[in-house]
């Protein structure tokens, strides 16, 4: 058994389009999503209802927004465990701004601004000081939420204006919420960015072999820095949405979001070792996680038990293709 990074290889011939589309990770995810959708509609009579389905989307949009940027970051071979703490800090700063009489546009700018600053801080430590991102972001995970605790203690901020609440509770049209629209728009932007631009190709190049990428003229450090800033930006956006939806800020806000965002990314077929993945997969994985948690919620399964399902889903979905490959090699 050798180190996993050793037998990563690039194909010298691509599969035929149709065959590879049918056998792809994404089509497996579509099947899983459909299966869970059908199970849900049998399990609860309240599931197949436009408003139920609309509520369902609130289960995953905030985390999925982060997962989009996290996917790019993980493909480039880094990781950010501090995203949930960035939400906590951004939300706290929005609450502070509110105390000084900030109105809605300022609140949104504060939230997103804090997110970008936190992301840039992570990015600087990783690319500027050349530190491993997993430890850096474990550190900033404590630091960012720690600052939120220093500011808030056991208090909370409340009283956000109505126009601000719209970001988390408003609907653009009928049952289509602002959160969902924002997520879909961002998903398209990230899809174009990753799959249709030079920048996206460079992310894959860095993830597969950062030394070779550097020799090919890719500015590895700069791209990684931008990706950390993007992850911060998305966390800041998620902070705006979540704060607006909950209508209050506590220092423990969004606890555990980082694990769910990473679960979505990995479930979506992104290699945790970097170098492979797709936005479509991440979007599908987000929908699956949302379907599972919402379906279990309709069945009155407590939240903590749901985490068993998401945890198992993560391991099983990763393990199945590996077991399948081992079984085929033996046959």
């Amino acid at each position: 058994m050798t180190d996993t990074s050793l037998h990563r290889s690039l194909p010298d011939r691509l599969d035929k389009p149709l065959k590879s589309a049918v056998l792809s990770w994404e089509s497996l995810l579509v099947l899983v999503a459909l299966g869970i959708f059908i199970l849900n509609s049998f399990a609860s009579p309240y599931f197949l209802n436009a408003w139920s389905l609309s509520d369902l989307t609130f289960n995953f949009t905030e985390k999925a927004l982060i997962a989009l940027a996290m996917a790019l970051l993980i493909i480039s071979g880094e990781i950010d465990l501090s995203v949930a703490s960035i939400i906590a800090l951004a939300s706290t700063m929005m609450g502070l701004a509110l105390q000084y009489g900030a109105d809605t546009p300022v609140l949104v700018m504060v939230g997103i601004g804090v997110g970008i600053v936190c992301g840039a801080f992570n990015g600087f430590l990783v690319t500027g000081l050349k530190l491993p991102s997993i430890v850096v972001t474990i550190g900033t995970m404590s630091l960012f939420r720690g600052i939120a605790f220093i500011v808030l203690g056991d208090q909370s901020f409340k009283g956000y204006p109505k126009s601000f609440s719209w970001f988390g509770q408003g609907y653009v049209w009928w049952v289509i919420s602002f959160e969902l629209v924002l997520f879909l728009v961002c998903a398209v932007i990230y899809w174009v960015l990753l799959h249709r631009t030079n920048f996206g190709r460079r992310i894959f190049a860095i993830g597969n072999n950062d030394v070779a990428a550097r020799f090919s003229g890719v500015r590895v450090e700069r791209i990684k820095f931008i990706l950390f800033c993007l992850t911060g930006l998305m966390s800041g956006m998620a902070a705006v949405l979540l704060t607006a939806r909950l209508g209050s800020t506590r220092p423990s806000i969004a606890e555990g979001f980082e694990l769910e965002a990473i679960t979505m990314v990995v479930l979506g077929g992104v290699s945790i070792l970097g170098g492979a993945g797709s936005i479509l997969g991440v979007v599908l994985a987000a929908v699956i996680v949302g379907l599972v948690t919402f379906g279990l919620g309709l069945l009155n399964v407590p939240g903590i038990v749901m985490t068993i399902f998401t945890g198992s889903l993560l391991i099983v979905v990763i393990a199945l293709p590996i077991l399948f490959r081992m079984w085929r090699q033996r046959a």
Partner: protein, 325 residues
């Protein structure tokens, strides 16, 4: 390299001493032997957990599930004690170690046989184990009244002036020292971290060694499950929530490299004690406990920066001019 490591341990020791001196300057009672022993006792569980984590991190892996493992074995042992108060405590402790090791082995098997990255495996089991605590307990607590006096009293019994909890930490630390410096398995753990490919050529089974590392961290987490529950005399779903990060923090502050292959038992012990001293000093100098999280975050970042200066690998320097845009 060896001199460098010693250097780091001395540095850490001085940092701890500095905190002690600063606090004692204002509150003379802080550095009294009695209080220092209390701090050591308070930190015992963290020390053991961090040593278990080190065995895993050395192999370029990470075990995020230790705190959940602790909560699950803790709940099992507490419920067992509540249901069958007659079962002797040493047997319960042995059971904890076995259950913990089995949970660790589950992580290890997935890493060894299926080659799934450890961070993914333990991220999954982190949530699964904690979910299972809820499933087996139904969300209920086991409190002091349901536990037998022996169950609670064992670790508080004093032997040669120290509570048994401290002795547990001392014995575990000695075992780890022997394991890391005097056994082939210890050598293999370091070898894999330094260079997995070369380890294969020298005849080390990388996957199997990683498996052993996870069994070790699991067994330690299991043992600490009993110790934690009997110390805080409450078993619930929330036990040690988020503690996995504190464990990793102790390792990183103690000089363990997250890239594998670097770390020492002494360093990890000092790293844990550093966090313990800080946590004990904050209330004394009247800083709100809400500062604790931010301070340990800052300590982690500082430690990583210091670690990185010592362990930068020479091979990478070649490209410095190429990237110096």
């Amino acid at each position: 390299m060896n001199r460098l490591l010693k250097h780091r341990e001395i540095f850490l020791f001085l940092a701890i001493l500095l905190v002690l001196v600063l606090v004692t300057a204002r509150f003379p009672r802080f550095a009294q032997p009695g209080n220092l022993l209390t701090i050591f006792n308070d930190t015992s569980i963290l020390m053991m957990l961090a040593l278990g984590q080190m065995a895993v991190i050395l192999t370029r892996s990470i075990d995020l599930s230790m705190a959940s493992n602790l909560a699950l074995t803790g709940m099992i042992v507490a419920m067992t004690n509540a249901a069958f108060p007659g079962v002797p405590i040493p047997l319960l402790i042995a059971g904890c170690v076995v259950v913990g090791a089995a949970l660790g082995a589950f992580n290890g098997i997935l890493v060894w046989k299926l080659d799934i990255p450890p961070i993914v495996v333990t991220l999954g089991t982190l949530t699964i184990f904690r979910g299972l605590v809820f499933v087996i307990s139904g969300g209920a607590w086991v409190n002091a009244a349901q536990m037998s006096p022996d169950f609670i009293g064992l670790q508080r019994a004093v032997f040669l002036g120290l509570p048994l909890l401290s002795w547990f930490a001392i014995v575990v630390a000695l075992l780890f020292w022997v394991l890391m410096t005097r056994t082939p398995l210890g050598r293999a753990l370091y070898a894999i971290g330094v260079n997995p490919t070369a380890s294969v050529y020298t005849g080390i089974d990388v996957g199997r060694t990683k498996f052993y590392a996870f069994v070790i961290s699991g067994a330690v987490a299991g043992l600490c499950g009993y110790l934690w529950i009997s110390r805080y005399v409450i078993a619930s779903v929330e036990v040690a929530g988020g503690y996995e990060l504190t464990i990793i923090a102790a390792c990183v502050i103690g000089g363990v490299s997250i890239a594998g292959g670097i770390g020492s038992v002494g360093g990890v012990l000092l790293g844990a004690i550093f966090l313990g001293v800080i946590n004990n000093a904050l209330p004394v100098i009247n800083i709100s406990p809400f500062w604790q999280m931010a301070i340990s975050g800052a300590a982690i970042l500082l430690a990583v920066v210091l670690n990185a200066r010592g362990e930068r690998r020479k091979g990478r320097v070649i490209l410095k001019t190429a990237e110096g845009v």
